[in-house]
Every structure is written in structure tokens, then in C-alpha cells.
Symmetry: C2
Subunit: 146 residues, 2 copies
DNA sequence: TCCTTGTCTACTATCTCTATAAACATAGTA
DNA sequence: TACTATGTTTATAGAGATAGTAGACAAGGA
């Protein structure tokens, strides 16, 4: 039931960008250093996040990445689904699945549906705005390790 | 966030054995056929389940597998943890983890801890006895597809 | 033009998943 | 005893995912 490093890095990168939302763009190098991720791997993660519409970029001198939307408009769930894939622990729970011989009679399907819903309820209801707010409410001078 | 086929087969095999709890042992071939799983793969799964203490076996002619405990004593969570591994979506949530620079300051840890707890609350509170009961309460002649 | 930055493609080592195969051990039965 | 049905163990293998690494290229500002 593990998430991958890619998703972990993606979430941390977005939180980093959310923290620096007012500051302007951040370079891949800056982001990688601040969240302690491999630079070349971060390149790919950020490109994926760009394809997903989560971040914008500016090339050339003084270029870098920035959030495409307000932190409060991006939920963790959106990112996890895009980078990691479906939340559902087993494919038969997914919408539109019709391969089982008789879905209505499979007991495990209902279990995994519940797990899927519980997980979604958590990660769909937290935005990067919420996280930044939590950090700020701790007071000045308190630095988070992302 | 997917579980593996191995876990899926393991759960289905145990439910199958729970349904036939009073009947005596079932052979690998019978179980595989009833839950529609590859025989040679089922061998490994059942062997793992035996190591985990979930099933017992009898060799030789008229041998086979049977549940090691009453169906109501085995929860889905026990099996998932043993076959699939930790429920926690990321290692820093696990008990005893001390590798993070500063656990108390990581916001994502709390999110994944919540997801982990929600999942556990579901799968730790369903036993194979519950599932068999659900099947029986549907009345005679109603066959489940496991 | 030069430097800094993002973009894109390719490559690789390692691991996991999902099986399959063959040789072997055990136990009942003819 | 010989035979057969069963579980046991170990090895192997292809496909795919994971977690990176490398290098050439494109764009934009000074």
C-alpha cells in the first residue's frame, strides 16, 4: 500500500512552491536542494507536474517554476491521482470496471471501496493552502522540514 | 495505492476455506479452481499463508489445506499486513522510524498517518467469519463469486 | 555572444510481480 | 511393496515499475 518516491517528491515540491508562492519562480536546483531530492529526478517530476497543470515554468535566465494556481485551489488528492494513479486498491473498484463475472456478489469489492473512499476523504480535503496556513500559524522562525 | 494479486488471491483463498470450514481439507487444485487462480501461484500463496499461521496442511493422499483458526478469529487486516506488507503509505509513518531529520515538523506524515489509520480501521474490523455470515444471510441457493 | 535555465530523449541498474517448472517428501491404498 | 495423490522446496524467467543518471538541445536575458 505504498506511494512512490515520485509522488512524495511531487507533493513536497508543490508545498515548497506554495510556501514561496509570493516570491516568484524557483529553479529546479533550489527546489531540489530545499526538499532534498535528486536534481535530475526532480526535472522529470516537475515536467510531469507541468503536464498536469499544477505548475508553470519560465525558461532562460532568471527562469524557474511556480504554482499554476493558488495553493488553496490544489488538493493533495489531485496530485496523488495524477502522479501515482488511481486511489483504488484493486481495479474492480474503479468506475466503469466491468470485467468481474458478478460484481454485486463480490464481498471484497465492498471492503476496498470503503478503503478507497476513506483515503479520498482525507487527501481530497487538504489543500496546499491549508498546509501553508498550518506552517504560518506556528509563528515566525519556525522552519519546517519538508 | 494498489494491492497485489498475491494478496487478492490470499484473501479469496481464505474466504474459500472459511466457507468450507466444516467440510475438511481442500486441495490446492480445488481452491484454485473455485477462486479462479493459477495453481502453481496458489501453491506459493498457500505456503506463505501456512508460514503466517493462517492455514494448516495435510500431506499425501486425501491431504489439503484448511483454516488454522475459526473464521471469526482471522481479520482481513492480519492477512493483508502479512502478505502485502505495511499498511502505511510511506515508511516514515511506521512505528519506530527515526530517519527523518525532524518528524514533528513534517506535515505530510500526519496526512499519511490518517490514511493509514482509516484503512486499518476498516480491514482490521472485518473477519472471515463476518464474510461467511454475510453470504449465509443471503439465503440458500445464492452463490457468491469470490 | 555567453550564461543560465528549462526540455526532451535515452539509458540503466535494481527490484517486484506474476507466474512456471522440476525435483522431492509424505501419506494413504491396492 | 508399488503406486498415486498430494503438499514442499528451490530455481527460473519475462514483463513491468522504480529510481535514478547522462547528454544534447532550446529559450531567454545580460
Amino acid at each position: 500500500m505504498r506511494i512512490t518516491y515520485k509522488t512524495d517528491y511531487a507533493l513536497k515540491a508543490l508545498l515548497d512552491l506554495a510556501i514561496h508562492y509570493e516570491t516568484g519562480v524557483s529553479t529546479i536546483n533550489d527546489i531540489s536542494r530545499r526538499i532534498d531530492a535528486p536534481v535530475k529526478f526532480m526535472e522529470q517530476v516537475l515536467l510531469d507536474l507541468k503536464k498536469g497543470g499544477f505548475v508553470g515554468s519560465k525558461r532562460g535566465n532568471a527562469g524557474g517554476y511556480s504554482l499554476a494556481n493558488e495553493p488553496s485551489k490544489i488538493s493533495l488528492g489531485q496530485v496523488v491521482r495524477y502522479i501515482e494513479g488511481p486511489i483504488e486498491p484493486i481495479s474492480c473498484v474503479e468506475k466503469g470496471y466491468t470485467n468481474c463475472s458478478d460484481l454485486s456478489r463480490c464481498l471484497f469489492r465492498e471492503i476496498w471501496r470503503k478503503v478507497s473512499k476513506a483515503t479520498s476523504d482525507i487527501i481530497d480535503n487538504v489543500t496546499f493552502g491549508d498546509l501553508v496556513e498550518q506552517i504560518n500559524s506556528k509563528g515566525e522562525g519556525f522552519t519546517y522540514s519538508i
